[in-house]
Amino acid sequence: MSSINNLRDKFRDASRPARGRLGDTLFTVIAFLAAATIILIITLLVYQLFEGALPSIRAFGADFLSSSEWDPVKDIYGARVFIYGTIVSSLLALLMAVPLSLGIAIYLSQFAPRWLRSPLGFIVELLAAIPSVVYGLWGIFVLAPFLGQTIEPFFADHLGGIPIFAGPVYGVGLFAAAVVLAIMILPTISAISRESMLNVSSDQKEAAQALGATPWETVRMSVLPLARPGIIGAIILGLGRALGETMAVTMIIGNRPEISASIFAPAYTIASVIANEFAEVTAGLHMAALVELALILLVITLLLNLLARLLVQRTGSGALKRKRS
C-alpha cells in the first residue's frame, strides 16, 4: 500500500505545473488566493472587533467583566449581567439537550433497524434547518405561554421554596430560552455523536458480544468509551452554538438586565443586547462597549470550536476507523 502511495506522490511531483504553463500557474494562484481569503477573514474579524472595542477596553479595563451596570444615559457599561444570562441559558440548554442527544445518537447508531437509521437521522437533522427567527416566533406565541401556564407554575407551587424554582413565572425568561436552545442544538450534538459512535470499529463491539454482553452493555463498554472524545467535542460544539444563538433567545428570554436566582426569571444575553441596541447607536462608548461584548463572545466561541474540532478529529482517525463490513 505504502509503495503505491510513494509512487503516486512521485507522479504528483512529476505532474506539477511546468514553468511554461501559464494556465496552471494562474489557476494555482487564484485557488490559493481563495483559500487565503478564509485566513484573511478570521484575521480581519479579530482585528476589527478589537479595534472597535478599544475605547471601551481603555475606559473600563477589567471592570467591564465584573460590573453589572449597563447605563447608556450615564455612559457606564459592564457586561456581567449579559455574561451571566448567556452562560446560564446555554448550560441549562445543555442539561436538557445532552441526555436526549446521546439517546438519539445511540438509538440511531446501534439500536434502530438499519432501514430506519438514515431517514430518521435526516428528520432529526431537519430541526437544524428551521430558521432561528421561526423558533423565536413559535417560542413567543406557543411555547412561552404553554410553559408559563403549566410547567412553570407547577414547579413554583411545589418547589418554590428552592430559590432556583421561585416565582413569579412569566412564561418568557431563562427557562423558556433554554428549552428553545435545547431543541436547536439537539441536531448538532446528536449528529456528531452518532458519527463518532459509528466510527467505533465493529471488532470492539464483537469482542463485548463474545463475552456475553447485552446490547446495552456492549454500548456502555465498547462504544461509549471509544467514542468519548467525539461526544465531548459534539457537546462543546453544541455549547458554542447555544452561546451565540441570537434571534430565538432575544425573542423569548425577556431582555431584562438582571441576575436573579430563579430560572423562571427574565434575563439578557450578550447576543440579545447586541441585536437590540446595535442598530440604534452610531458611535461613542456605547458602540465600543457593544463591540467589546461581541469580542468576548467571539473569543469564547473561537476557543470552544478549536477545542471541539481537535477532539472530533481524534475519533475520526487511525485505530478507531470504522471497518467496512
Binding site: A35, I38, G103, Y107, I130, Y135, W138, L237, M247
Partner: protein, 284 residues
C-alpha cells in the same frame, strides 16, 4: 438459578436502556412536528397573492404583504452567492487538489472555526467593515455578511467532494497531456458536481433563514429594493419585526412569512438531498 436471575436482570437493564433511547428519539420529533403544524395552521390563512406581491401597509391598516421582503431576500441571497460561491469552491479546490500540508491544515481548521462563529458577530464585523466606512446600511453589506457565513460550508463541502474523486481519473487525464487546471475544472470538479451542488444548496438554505447578521447591515425597509447601496427588507428581518410588534394583524403576517421561509428552506435542503441522493455526508 442465581446465574439466570442475574442474566434476566441484565437483559431487563438492556431493554430499559433501549426504551430510553427510543423515547429520546421520539421526544426530539415532537417539537419538529409542533413547529411545522403551527407554522402551517397559523400561516396558511394569511397566505395569499397579496401577501406575496404587495408592499406592507402602514400601521393600523390591515392587508398588504411582504412582497418587498421576499424580493429583498432573493437579492441578498444572490449577492451572497455571487461573492461566496466562487471563493468557496476555489478555496475547497485548493484544499483538495494542491497539497501543501501546513497551509491546508491551517485553512481547513480556520474554515471549521469560522463556521462556528455566531452569525450576529459576523454582522458586527461587516458593520464595522462596510457600514461604518460607507456611512450607510446597504443591501451590499447584508449580502457580504451572508457570503462570509456560507464561505466555510461551501469550501469544506467542495473539498470533501473532490477528495472522493478517485486519483485514477486525474492520472488518466494528465496522462493524455491535458493540463492540470483543465483536468481539475473539466474532469475532477465535473465528476464531483452533484455533491458540490448539494452542499451549495444546503449553504443557501442556511443563509436564507439568517436574521441576526442582517439586523444592522441590510437593516429593513418598507419599500421595494432600489439599489445595492440602500437598505433592503428581507423575509427573516420582517418576520422578526412583526413578531415583536404589538399588532395582531402583524403577528398573522409573521406566521405567513414564516410559512414561506420554512417552505423555501425545506425545499432547498430536502430537495437537494433527495435529488442528488446520498452523494455527500451530513455537513457540519
Amino acid at each position: 438459578m442465581k446465574g439466570d436471575l442475574n442474566r434476566s436482570r441484565r437483559n431487563l437493564t438492556s431493554g430499559f436502556a433501549y426504551l430510553l433511547c427510543l423515547l429520546s428519539t421520539a421526544i426530539a420529533l415532537i417539537p419538529l412536528g409542533l413547529i411545522l403544524v403551527y407554522v402551517i395552521v397559523q400561516g396558511a390563512p394569511a397566505l395569499n397573492l397579496d401577501f406575496l406581491t404587495q408592499l406592507p401597509k402602514p400601521v393600523g391598516e390591515t392587508g398588504g404583504g411582504m412582497g418587498n421582503a421576499i424580493v429583498g431576500s432573493l437579492m441578498l441571497i444572490g449577492i451572497a452567492a455571487a461573492i461566496g460561491l466562487p471563493i468557496g469552491v476555489l478555496a475547497g479546490t485548493y484544499l483538495a487538489e494542491f497539497r501543501s500540508p501546513r497551509l491546508s491544515w491551517t485553512v481547513r481548521l480556520l474554515a471549521d472555526i469560522l463556521s462556528g462563529v455566531p452569525s450576529i458577530i459576523i454582522g458586527v464585523f461587516v458593520y464595522t467593515l462596510l457600514v461604518l466606512t460607507m456611512k450607510r446600511f446597504s443591501a451590499l453589506a447584508g449580502g457580504v455578511a451572508l457570503a462570509v457565513l456560507m464561505l466555510p460550508t461551501v469550501a469544506r463541502t467542495t473539498e470533501e467532494m473532490l477528495r472522493m474523486v478517485p486519483d485514477t481519473l486525474r492520472e488518466a487525464s494528465l496522462a493524455l497531456g491535458i493540463s492540470r487546471w483543465r483536468t481539475i475544472v473539466s474532469i475532477v470538479i465535473k465528476t464531483a458536481g452533484g455533491g458540490i451542488m448539494t452542499g451549495i444548496m444546503l449553504a443557501l438554505a442556511r443563509i436564507a433563514g439568517e436574521t441576526a447578521p442582517l439586523l444592522f447591515t441590510a437593516l429593513n425597509s418598507r419599500t421595494w429594493p432600489t439599489g445595492l447601496d440602500k437598505p433592503v427588507a428581507s423575509l427573516p428581518v420582517q418576520i422578526y419585526t412583526y413578531a415583536i410588534a404589538p399588532y395582531a394583524d402583524w403577528h398573522q403576517q409573521a406566521w405567513a412569512g414564516s410559512l414561506v421561509l420554512v417552505l423555501m428552506v425545506l425545499l432547498l435542503s430536502v430537495g437537494s438531498k433527495l435529488y442528488f441522493g446520498r452523494k455527500m455526508r451530513s455537513v457540519r
